[in-house]
């Protein structure tokens, strides 16, 4: 079948003085191929091409990258429909370690900062906490996050204040625990998000919603948090 052209961001700090774009041609593109399949075959052409990937089905969140200007997961991005040459860059803003591999420490730091774990003060029962299906349904669209970083690294507010704005992924997690009927740290969680930066840098630009490979809606989550804050205040 047809061949496809790629332009891929390359940077190896050991040998390169700066980043460059390298052109690749992939022959024999099969129908149904995903971008990750293509990258793996390009890596066979040039072993030094470096990117993270693992599960190949969009659940581990390893292979977030910027594809023709938009963030996405390579493993669930079909080659069909991509404009050529397919331009692939690391996700924006985070420091590049090598090629498409970025240093995600800042991202993980924000994630850890929202206390992404259930906090319960009451004694635990010997069986499960009861939670109605309706209460459980509130977690849908929140718990499925795979921490790929597509949203946060595509959020202008994060570009402007990467150190201070928690970013959509972390705020989605914050919301996941705020709306969990079992969690008992609502006030503390809301207090932690006060201030002009952590939450309120979100200007509902909604890039996060557009790029989330799992179809989640961090903007809605952020609005939920704001609503909970107002409720908490009055």
């Amino acid at each position: 079948m047809a061949s496809m052209r790629f332009r891929i961001y390359r940077y190896n700090p050991e040998t390169d003085t700066g980043p460059r774009m390298q052109d690749f041609v992939l022959e024999d593109v099969q129908p149904g191929m995903m971008l990750r399949d293509a990258l793996l075959r390009l890596k066979e052409q040039d072993e030094t091409l470096t990117f993270r990937h693992s599960c190949g089905e969009g659940v581990c969140g390893s292979d977030a990258m910027n594809i023709n200007g938009t963030n996405g997961l390579a493993c669930i991005t079909p080659l069909a429909g991509l404009k050529e040459p397919v331009e692939i860059r690391p996700v924006p803003k985070l420091p590049v370690i090598r090629d498409l591999v970025v240093d995600m420490d800042e991202f993980y730091h924000h994630y850890r900062s929202v206390k992404p774990y259930l906090i319960v003060h009451d004694p635990e029962p010997e069986v499960e906490f009861l939670q109605s299906p309706q209460e459980r349904e509130k977690l849908d669209g929140l718990y499925e996050c795979i921490l790929c970083g597509c949203c946060t690294t595509f959020c202008p507010s994060f570009w402007w204040n990467p150190g201070k704005f928690r970013g959509p992924a972390a705020l989605l997690q914050a919301c996941r625990f705020l709306v969990d009927s079992r969690d008992q740290a609502t006030a503390e969680r809301l207090e932690d998000l006060e201030g002009p930066y952590r939450l309120f840098r979100c200007h509902t630009i909604m890039n996060c919603v557009n790029v989330c490979p799992k179809g989640l809606n961090p903007t809605a989550a952020i609005n939920t948090i704001k609503r909970l804050m107002v409720k908490d205040m009055i």
Binding site: E47, S54, C55, P116, V127, R136
Partner: protein
């Protein structure tokens, strides 16, 4: 290469999937000093891909009892499972699931607020009676929910993580104590020596042995190969589970929960063929049974599609509503990869390499054991848990929903035993000065320059060979040929050269190290399979179609040295209840 840095911890956990994280949590809560080394960020470990759920006899949907769960597991294992360990696992299951729920796992719920449970393969009430519903599920993302929760609780417990560090080899002294490991910082390319009083291997399985598999790229059995290189045996490696419903030709997993929710398989005539193979359990028979049935249908010309090389999984009758609520991830997956709507069309599936039943032999405390002249002895300081371990609770065939259970039960058990061990062994043993030489040499081997075979090429050949010569159905001649081919590949490994010799985030080098591991495990698998002249669980021999309890009710132990095989008896005596003696296995 610079002289490596040394770090010291009480415990080194290698692998940050469910097993490693559960153990680390137990240890961190006991205020032990734990280092968790993982070649990927913890939530990218393959536990994340587990879908269907975790078994525990909670009895939330239908009456249930841990003892029935035990019976099903023993039967599912084709009586190769050790019944003491199985009893231990099934008895702890409910407690551990409640514990996970308390930790935050977003389980789906029943109207009364309790954890949702669905029927899964091989489950019964009353020791072989009606279908049970024992699998606790968070929609079809149970592994994701569990792994994230366990990681989150480790954040809370302030566990020390070494993310994106690759373990090269274990450190061992003259007396056989394991003293930690040499690991490689992937980002900088520098080795690091982690000294530890106890080391837990929790590196998962080796699904990448096969071309079409449900596993992630990272599932290369690194821990198993490390154990082999440390002179330890691997147990029951011939038992590799083929999941009945991988997406045909692609391999992505479609959970058994799809059949648990009411989906069923049909051949090209539209026949529900499982009724012939398992009249009672039908589509919810054990995985080995269903996989063989599908392979047989295809072999006998009743496969679907232009090449007749798959069967169809029907889900459309369940309705969009149920699919959205109970199998949302599956719905996404099928739409993404097959561009079909399972709410309208059936899904092409075929048995796909899925789970390593074999592994590092351990007892039910997670301690690694090795045979000595009389019985076996514990390897001091070394533990294993999860898919890389062989306790053995899965025997010759694992039941769906038992692997997520296995990792938390034995992750926790290992954690508890390590805490005890640390109490009695307060100090680090001295590290022999030459202990790090061998691991560093393993690393240096890949600095050799020049032309040679490529890692990707050899890996592809290895996977294709394993698939062809060590698949669902096996015969002596095919296995003999397979052994010869794999040994040839092992020899060719020496000709492989890297083109990328840079230090920083060199994934080519990691893949080379992984390939070494895979080749070692392929040898272990085919050699173990070649010797076992019976059909049991996942190991089905066309030339020996029957189970042979007289000669083969025993575990295989494979040693790297001379590819030696030894055998050890199956523990048929449970801890407190009557043994389930081997009997004919029908579903």
């Amino acid at each position: 290469m610079n002289k490596p840095e040394y770090r010291r911890f009480d415990t080194l956990v290698i692998g940050a999937g469910g097993g490693g994280l559960r153990a680390a949590l137990q240890l961190a809560r006991a205020e032990a000093n734990v280092a968790v080394v993982s070649k990927v960020f913890p939530t990218r470990s393959h536990t994340v891909a587990a879908q269907g759920g975790i078994n525990a006899a909670l009895g939330n949907v239908r009456p249930d009892n841990w003892h029935w769960h035990m019976y099903d597991t023993v039967k599912g294992s084709d009586y190769l499972g050790d019944q003491d360990a199985i009893e231990y696992m099934c008895r702890s299951a409910a407690h551990l699931v409640y514990e996970l729920e308390h930790a935050g796992v977003p389980f789906s719920r029943l109207e009364n607020g309790k954890i949702y449970q669905r029927p899964f393969g091989g489950q019964s009430m009353n020791f072989g009676g009606e279908q049970a519903a024992r699998t606790c599920a968070a929609a079809d993302r149970t592994g994701h929910a569990m792994l994230h929760t366990l990681y989150q609780q480790n954040i809370r417990a302030k566990t020390h993580f070494f993310d994106e560090y690759f373990a090269i080899d274990l450190l061992r002294d003259e007396e056989g104590f394991i003293l930690g490991a040499v690991v490689l910082d992937i980002e900088t390319g520098e080795p690091l020596v982690i000294e530890a009083k106890t080391t837990l291997i929790a590196t998962g399985g080796a699904g990448q042995l096969f071309r079409t598999n449900t596993n992630a790229h990272i599932n290369t059995g690194d821990g198993l190969a490390m154990a082999l290189r440390a002179g330890l045996p691997l147990q029951d490696m011939e038992f590799f589970q083929f999941h009945p419903t991988g997406i045909a030709g692609k391999g992505m997993l479609i959970t058994e929960g799809a059949r648990g929710e009411g989906g069923y398989l049909v051949n090209k005539d539209g026949e529900r063929f499982m009724e012939r193979y398992a009249p009672h359990a039908k589509d919810l028979a054990s995985r080995d049974v269903v996989s063989r049935a599908i392979a047989t249908e295809v072999r006998e010309g009743r496969g679907c599609g232009p090449n007749g090389d798959y069967v169809l999984l029907k889900l459309d009758h369940l309705g969009e509503e149920v699919l959205k609520k109970r199998l949302p991830g599956i719905l996404d997956l099928i739409r993404t990869f097959l561009h079909i709507d399972p709410a309208k069309e059936p899904v092409p599936v075929f048995p796909t390499a899925h789970y390593t039943m074999g592994g590092i032999p351990t007892n039910r405390h997670g301690q690694v054991v090795a045979p000595v002249e009389q019985g076996e002895e514990v390897i001091p300081g070394l533990y294993a848990a999860g898919e890389c371990a062989c306790v053995s609770v899965h025997g010759a065939n694992r039941l769906g929903g038992n692997s997520l259970l296995d990792i938390v039960v034995f992750g926790r058990a290992a954690g508890n035993h390590i805490i005890e061990y640390l109490r009695e062994n307060r100090y680090h043993r001295p590290l022999p000065p030459d202990a790090v030489d061998r691991p560093l040499a393993r690393l240096a081997r890949w600095d050799r320059k020049g032309e040679g075979e490529s890692v990707a090429g050899l890996r592809a050949e290895l996977q294709a060979t394993m698939e062809e010569y060590c698949g669902v159905f096996r015969t002596q001649s095919v296995l003999d040929e397979g052994v010869a081919k794999i040994l040839e590949l092992e020899r060719r490994l020496d000709d492989v050269r890297l083109q990328d010799h840079s230090r920083i985030f060199n994934t080519a080098r990691i893949e080379a190290l992984e390939l070494e591991n895979l080749v070692a495990l392929a040898v272990a698998t085919v050699v173990s399979a070649q010797a076992r002249t019976e059909s049991r669980g996942a190991h089905s021999r066309i030339d020996y179609p029957e189970r042979d309890d007289v000669h083969w009710l025993k575990h295989t132990l494979f040693f790297r040295e001379d590819r030696r095989l030894e055998y050890k008896p199956v523990t048929l005596k449970p801890l407190s209840v009557e043994s389930f003696p081997p009997k004919e296995r029908v579903y």
